[in-house]
């Protein structure tokens, strides 16, 4: 393959990378917000995302298929339902697995371990429920509308769904920035993130803010799940794990706790991943295949953590004793 051939591949690769990156960014926001407020990695976030994806597929398959509604309306309804379920689930998770530990004097590792437990529990619980109704791998219902090709360059096209993802994810990110920086709720969230005790002395109901943070993060994960199902065409109870890990990598890459950081990190990671997955096999003549792209993501994570522990946009943390 010549250099010009590879150059030709560049625009669609970048477009794919951007779409993937935006998905990572929306999921990463959930990690980064919870981390900002509680200093906790919500391991179960990847499963909350997965539940959103499955709920969206079920809603589209069983409630909306054949209603004759416009595909855009259908996907919006699915997104709202998925956001509601995922948001509710995130709040429930916080109640059951995190809050009791926050109030008691538990060992430092305890919340991480309950989070992992919750994530395993959700994977198998969803697998069980899904398998009661047939196969637990669920295909996204056929919606030809979203596969319509729109021109990107004179020679390349991208499917309409990429544009949908771009718009929805962009709106989510913009909306969240607005909420966090220009509303009372956002001010309270930032206050709790800065200093939980001081915030509560200033009259902020910390428990309520934590709950709302989980709600927002969960709802975003639900929307991201819908978009993920739309993009990749199928979901199963384990399809949250790898995207979740990547989204976490994105959050760390951008500087965990930082909302713009999660967005930048997501987009950078998405583009890098697709570029590596496309070009490395070509350059090495398939000696290093696409299956190694996940390894590259982790390699990036490790490099970032070693050389830039606070990420691209994170503030250096000093620990006071």
């Amino acid at each position: 393959m010549t250099f010009t051939d590879m150059l030709q591949l560049l625009p669609p690769t970048l477009a794919d990378g951007l779409v993937l990156g935006l998905l990572y960014a929306v999921i990463a926001l959930g990690y980064t917000m919870v981390y900002g407020v509680l200093g906790l990695i919500n391991f179960a976030h990847s499963e909350i995302f997965m539940v959103g994806a499955i709920v969206a597929v079920e809603v589209l398959t069983h409630l909306l298929a054949g209603t004759g509604l416009h595909p855009i309306v259908q996907i919006v309804v699915a997104m709202i339902v998925a956001a509601a379920v995922s948001g509710g689930l995130a709040v429930a998770a916080e109640r059951v697995a995190y809050r009791p530990l926050r109030l008691s004097n538990a060992p430092k590792l305890a919340p991480l371990i309950t989070a992992i437990g919750l994530s395993l529990f959700l994977q198998d619980a969803v697998r069980f429920i899904e398998s009661l109704f047939g196969q637990f791998i669920r295909p996204f219902p056929s919606m030809p509308f979203f596969d319509r090709q729109i021109p990107l360059t004179p020679t390349d096209t991208v499917p309409l769904k990429s544009l949908v993802i771009l718009i929805v994810a962009g709106a989510m990110l913009g909306g969240l920035v607005h909420v966090v920086h220009h509303t009372r709720l956002g001010k309270a969230i930032r206050a709790v993130a800065t200093d939980r005790k001081a915030a509560s002395l200033m009259g902020v109901d910390v428990d309520r803010i934590v709950m709302l943070t989980f709600l927002i993060g969960g709802a975003l994960a639900g929307v991201a799940g819908t978009l993920y199902a739309l993009e990749f065409g199928r979901v199963d109870p384990f399809s949250g794990f790898v995207p979740g890990l990547k989204a976490f990598t994105a959050a760390v890459l951008g500087g965990i706790g930082s909302i713009p950081g999660a967005m930048v990190g997501g987009i950078v990671l998405g583009i890098l991943e697709v570029m590596i997955g496309t070009f490395v096999p070509i350059l090495t003549d398939n000696m290093i295949g696409t299956e190694y792209k996940d390894i590259f993501a982790f390699a990036i994570l490790i490099l970032i953590l070693v050389f830039m522990p606070t990420g691209l946009l994170g503030r250096p943390a000093t620990e006071k004793v």
Binding site: Y35, L40, I41, V96, A97, P100, L101, A106, P107, K108, L109, A110, P111, L112, I113, T114, I116, G117, L118, S119, L120, F121, L122, Q123, D124, A125, R127, F128, S131, L132, F241, L245, F248, T249, V252, M287, G289, E291, Y292, D294, I295, F298, L301, I302, L305, V306, P309, E319, V321
Partner: protein, 429 residues
């Protein structure tokens, strides 16, 4: 204080061990739930006897010999399945002891621990199989009894991998470390899955078969017509694993009481304070990682030899979580806890969940009715043995919420300073 065999508690434990041994030997030999209960009861006597604070050395020795050296092999000869379970428990017990050093003592949450196990397993698999011979050339496969050298080599190589992982990531705080180790575990699995090209090292998803078994000569000598069909090799592995568990426990106990052990605990409790007291953070953490990894690497070699087959599937995230569940169950930082956890989780996985599945299937097929509701209506998906993640998840959450220190909490030895001496000295002055 009445020490010795005559203390009531010691007598009780000995009596209990004798009763359970008799039960296991003469009453139950099947593999249903009741038999499993008898088997577990037998193992409980080991647990009771190792309570060092309340049981004296002689009693401990008697009970351990009776149960581990006499009862279990005899049960195993009658029903190989139990010997296999006991061996499996032993393998996982050593893994749990290794992870206990990293997570329990040093407080570094490692979610990719099984990677080191994989390193040991693939090491022996490649060195001793026909597949490896094709890769390494003349002189291979190694003779089966090179196994013991391989164990020592695995200790070194796995420790090396531990340091390799540790070096870049040890500056990280707990949460980051968890995710990076998780990533590392996945990387090793993906490598095992894909390194069949350009050079076929791991044979990809098919795995490596025909791995050599050590001491097959001993097994052949033992073979007697008295018990036809019994695979004496299983007994050899049992003895081998038992010895390794003994070594692992001793090493763990010695480390726990040593300077480095106290440094680990100091780091776990407060990194900054530990550093201020002059503990070299990086070196101490690296030693923890390397030691834990060495335990896992050793057992990887044993695992590969015992299974005679390795494939990437045996080393997935579930396995790492399983070992974590063991030490959380037993109590982080607790040596006896790690053993209890290993036994409970392994038996849960291998026996209880399977027996429950079989029981439910039986009820389903016979259409057993409870209050007019027939078990035939129970969906076929309802199979406990397929939902180990769910069980592990519930264990992890429930333990952390209700018994965060585990079933057998670690107790730090405390030294009481005798203040009466002080006053005396003051009086003399």
């Amino acid at each position: 204080m009445a020490a010795g065999l005559l203390s009531p508690r010691s007598l009780g434990v000995v009596a209990y061990a004798i009763v359970t041994t008799a039960m296991a030997l003469f009453v139950f030999t099947g593999s249903g739930l009741v038999d499993t209960a008898a088997f577990v009861a037998l193992l409980v006597s080991v647990h009771l006897a190792t309570d060092a604070a309340r049981i004296d050395g002689a009693t401990r020795f008697v009970v351990l010999t009776l149960v581990l050296v006499v009862a279990l092999p005899l049960v195993g000869v009658r029903n190989t399945f139990y010997l296999d379970v006991a061996t499996q428990v032993g393998i996982y017990a050593v893994l749990a002891l290794g992870l206990n050093i990293v997570v329990g003592f040093a407080g570094l949450l490692d979610l990719g621990f099984i990677a080191f196990f994989a390193v040991g397993a693939y090491l022996w698999a490649i060195l001793s199989s026909a597949h490896g011979a094709g890769l390494l050339g003349p002189g291979f496969p190694l003779p089966p009894d090179a196994f013991f050298v391989a164990i020592l080599v695995a200790v070194g190589i796995a420790a090396g991998f531990g340091i390799l992982l540790g070096l870049p990531v040890l500056r990280l705080k707990g949460d980051y470390l968890a995710i990076v180790t998780l990533g590392f575990g996945e990387v090793i699995r993906v490598l095992a899955n894909n390194l069949d090209k350009p050079v076929n090292i791991t044979n990809g998803p098919q795995g490596i078969t025909g791995i050599a078994q050590p001491l097959s000569g001993v097994a052949a000598t033992l073979a007697s017509p008295a018990v036809p069909g019994f695979k004496w090799q299983a007994l050899v592995y049992y003895a081998l694993v038992l010895a390794l568990v003994g070594i692992a426990v001793t090493v763990n106990r010695r480390l726990d009481g040593s300077k480095i052990g106290r440094a680990w605990i100091a780091i776990r409790e407060d990194e900054i304070a530990a550093q201020a007291m002059g503990i070299p953070l990086v070196r101490t953490k690296l030693v923890a990682f390397a030691t834990g990894a060495a335990f896992a690497g050793t057992m990887g070699v044993v695992f590969a030899a015992k299974q005679t087959f390795v494939s990437p599937e045996s080393f997935d995230f579930n396995q790492s979580i399983g070992v974590l569940a063991m030490i959380v169950f037993g109590g982080l930082g607790s040596i006896r806890g790690a053993m209890v956890g290993a036994a409970m989780v392994t038996i849960l996985n291998l026996q209880i969940l399977k027996a429950l599945s079989a029981g439910l299937n039986h009820l389903r097929s016979t259409g057993f009715e409870v209050f007019g509701w027939s078990f035939a209506n129970l969906p076929t998906q309802f199979e406990p043995s397929k939902y180990e993640r769910l069980v592990f998840g519930v264990i992890l959450i429930a333990m952390m919420l209700h018994r965060p220190r585990g079933l057998v909490p670690a107790d730090r030895r405390t030294i009481r300073v005798d203040t009466s001496n002080e006053t005396e000295r003051e009086g003399a002055r």
